[in-house]
Amino acid sequence: MNELITFPISKLQSLLSDREVSPSEIASAYLERIEAVDPTVQAYITVTPGVAEEDAKAALNRLKDGGTAPLTGIPLGIKDLICTKGTRTTCASRMLENFVPPYNATVMDMLNSQGAVMLGKLNMDEFAMGSSTENSAFMKTRNPWDTKRIPGGSSGGSAAAVAAGECPASLGSDTGGSIRQPASHCGVVGMKPTYGRVSRFGLVAFASSLDQIGPLTRDVTDCAILLEAISGHDPRDSTSADMPVPCYRDALKEGLKGMVVGVPSEYFVKGLDPDVENVVQKGIEYLEKQGASIREVSLPHTEYAVAAYYIIAPAEASSNLSRYDGVKYGHRSSNYANLMEMYQSTRSEGFGDEVKRRIMIGTYCLSAGYYDAYYKKASQVRTLIMQDFKKVFQETGCHVLATPVAPTPAFGIGDKTGDPLQMYLSDIFTIPVNLAGLPALSVPCGFSKDNLPIGLQLVADHFQEETLLQAAYNVELMAGCCNKLPEIK
């Protein structure tokens, strides 16, 4: 095993700037690692050695000429619903199995302009709908810590690849927990930024008002580096915020004196796995030891979040996925006699069960006569959930909230596929954050009795990513769980 694949971005940066190693050498080390372990982990849908080689060459030239950026020569894996010009972007769906976008997502343009190196496209639940990556049309990604278990989802490939040393960092997307939950299950850092912090242009939409791209990394420092690289206003995304991007790395200071950490009682419910509860309690102690004061708080509408989410997200999804009709691109059935049959067969064949389930739920919720009872009511609940958080941050004076990420550590492959409701509850602690548009992350905080990683979720007020990173950095220092490579069996 090449030592290079064990380093975080920050270490690779100094090796590159000291000319100890070239971008191609780093890329090759990762490509070899992918070849060695991906047949087991199955994190990548598409590996792109050609693109990586070209990117690495360009990065080398930049290093020679000066004018480098923080990510020059750093290899990355990209969730396969972020559009990459010239490289197929499947969304882990038969529908887009051969879809090659003629454009880049804005985040890809930003990474390219920094001279980052793309290693490939990462597996996920189809169209980001799921919590275990078992809904991919192509493969089941394994948890590198225990390959009989799921890596979490929907950004399961993104989390597993980082955990298995198949890339130093990756991009995922988070609609209801899809970055944080797999990050927790795989023992990596995963952040969902504030809604509007990162452009959604070129992110294939699942639920537009909830989706956000974010980084998955080996440690908190890398999270700050990658977040900074992809943040900022994009005129092509009307919902992106025109706010300055701070130097996030500067926020990583030891000590949390003056910080108030809220612990919402509603997040410590019956059914919370004791291992998870222990780790989260330890995380709260770490924060306190670093100087923060801990305060119990209440988010009274938490119990309605999952219900509201499973109306709003499918409603938006049913609309967003209307474009996959077999007319312009993507899969078209060969089995039809007229237009209506073409639509029906194409969509029946192209989408998997979970996607179809959500399209049906969403279509129902938006139908005439049901809109008020479902979509409108759910939107009102959403407002109440936002107000809960607002109170806690603005009236109670909390800077961050500390909660579990998921009720249990990674579960076994196939354990929940027969019970969609149980699967939906995996996101019970992450969903409210998306409904409120807040930034949150999962930082590795400990292990279960079975040696499965468990993360701590930290949540902050809108655009307070610096506070979030500072708190996470201190947890990382105390817990010492970051930058660990499991032995893949």
């Binding site: 294939v204 009307s238 007319v327 809109y371």
Partner: protein
């Protein structure tokens, strides 16, 4: 029993902004298929719409011109249905919070003014087009038109006759053209109209069951389709039958409407606010900027023409039919200060030529300056009114200046036909022998007779004309 028609119209107008409503593609008619498209208007995965600010401005202009209220916030909504010309599977339109609402326009029908309420005006994107292959059972999709900005103007059910409906649509066209926001061309589809029509016994307040008419692509067809539909519904009602709520298509060739779909087959569009687009917020300052940019509107201009130029109402309406006609009139009056005379010449002579040749007033060869020049020549007696009309025609055809036409044709000489005919008659009467000789075959005597005319007119007669008159009178 007598029935009264209750009609409401939905008019779609394509806005002529330079780019499309949600992307930067050129907004233009008539390019080869699928050349004016990008990932955004093609509805590719992951792309996002960005609202063209100019579209909002154009729509607000129309809102102001139709006396609408302008709410501070407005929202775009998705309207879902599957069709191959709709790449996203939904149209981005407005539902709960339209851009403007509660306005009105006045229309004139048979000398009476009627006020028609405007329910709302909202913005939306147009769909593409299907091109059907006649030789094979396939259709092609052309997405150039996808994303063309539209406003939909919904009227109150205030219209009571097909004539009023046609007058209302003409008024809408006149306004969008005045405002410079659309060509308002029904034949090309830049202005499209659907109608809701029901009948009720005269004096009854409640509405009857309505049908929705589509596919009326000219003013005449709007009127004819509604006339047909009134006859059809009247016959059903008189026969004791019920009207079925349905959508009907107008067949202009056969002059009938036929059922397209019933109420049960109506789409459920599943409107909901578009999460990709933030609410439209209209600041007071923005509104004032747009208001300050509004041109003088037709009703206002007509009143001013009557007051300022002392024109009869009829003249004022004709001259304000378009902004360009009004501008033309005013420029000509500035150069030749006799408004009624200018009005007569525009309405009768110029408009006749424009109509014959299908040229627009602002593009025709007779500039306001040329018209003023012709009128001055007539006024000074340099040429007769009749000759003035000829000069106008000539100028219209060739673009030469009236002065040069007069000179070229020697029109400043006595060329007036009736005047010359009188002189020729007099000379013929005084020289019966020469007339006899000419008619007997001695054509040479014509020069003698010509000489006599020249003497009579002291050389000012137009020889060419005189020659023609002689030949006519001697031979004819």
């Amino acid at each position: 029993m007598n029935y009264e028609a209750v009609i409401g119209l939905e008019v779609h107008v394509q806005l002529k902004t330079s780019s499309k409503i949600f992307c930067s593609c050129v907004n233009k008619f008539g390019s080869s298929p699928n050349t004016q498209t990008c990932p955004v208007c093609l509805g590719m995965p992951g792309v996002l719409p960005v609202l063209n600010r100019r579209v909002v401005e154009y729509a607000l202009r129309m809102g102001m011109a139709t006396n609408c209220k302008i709410p501070k916030y407005s929202q775009l909504a998705r309207k879902h249905y599957f069709y191959p010309d709709l790449p996203k599977g939904y149209q981005i339109s407005q539902y709960e919070l339209p851009l403007v609402e509660h306005g009105w326009v006045d229309i004139d029908v048979e000398g009476k003014t009627r006020r028609i309420g405007i329910t709302r005006i909202h913005i939306e994107d147009d769909a593409g087009k299907l091109v059907h292959d006649e030789s094979r059972p396939v259709s092609y999709v052309d997405l150039n038109r996808t994303g063309t900005p539209l406003i939909e103007i919904v009227s109150e059910p205030d219209i009571r006759s097909p004539e009023e409906a046609a007058a209302y649509v003409r008024k809408i066209r006149q306004l969008v053209r005045y405002l410079g926001i659309s060509d308002g061309n029904m034949e090309e589809g830049s202005l499209r109209c659907d109608a809701n029509i029901s009948l009720r016994p005269e004096g009854q307040k409640e509405f009857g069951t309505k049908s929705e008419l589509k596919n009326m692509n000219s003013f005449r067809n709007v009127q004819k389709a509604l006339e047909y539909e009134i006859r059809r519904q009247t016959a059903l009602l008189l026969d004791g039958q019920e009207i079925v709520q349905e959508t009907r298509l107008w067949d202009a060739g056969k002059g009938v409407t036929h059922s397209m779909r019933g109420k049960e087959e109506a789409h459920d569009y599943r409107y909901f606010p578009d999460p990709d687009l933030v609410p439209i917020e209209i600041s007071d300052q923005w509104m004032e900027e747009i208001r300050a940019d509004l041109p003088e509107l037709p009703d206002e201009k007509r009143r001013r023409f009557m007051e300022q130029y002392g024109l009869p109402e009829y003249d004022a309406s004709v001259l304000t039919v378009s902004r360009e006609t009004g501008d033309y009139f005013e420029e000509a009056v500035r150069l030749f200060d006799n408004p009624k005379s200018v009005s007569n010449w525009i309405m009768v002579e110029l408009m006749k030529l424009l109509k014959q040749t299908d040229v627009s007033i602002e593009q025709c060869n007779v500039t306001p300056a040329y018209l003023a020049e012709i009128l001055a020549l007539v006024d000074k007696g340099t040429i007769s009114a009749q000759m003035g009309k000829e000069v106008l025609q000539d100028c219209f055809g060739t673009g030469k200046s009236p002065a040069s036409i007069v000179e070229e044709k020697g029109l400043s000489q006595v060329s007036d036909e009736s005047e010359l005919e009188a002189v020729v008659a007099k000379v013929m009467e005084a020289n019966p022998k020469e007339v006899e000789l000419y008619r007997g075959g001695k054509k040479k005597v014509l020069s003698f007779l010509m000489g006599q005319v020249m003497r009579e007119t002291r050389g000012k007669a137009n020889p060419k004309k005189v020659n023609e008159i002689f030949r006519k009178m001697l031979e004819g």
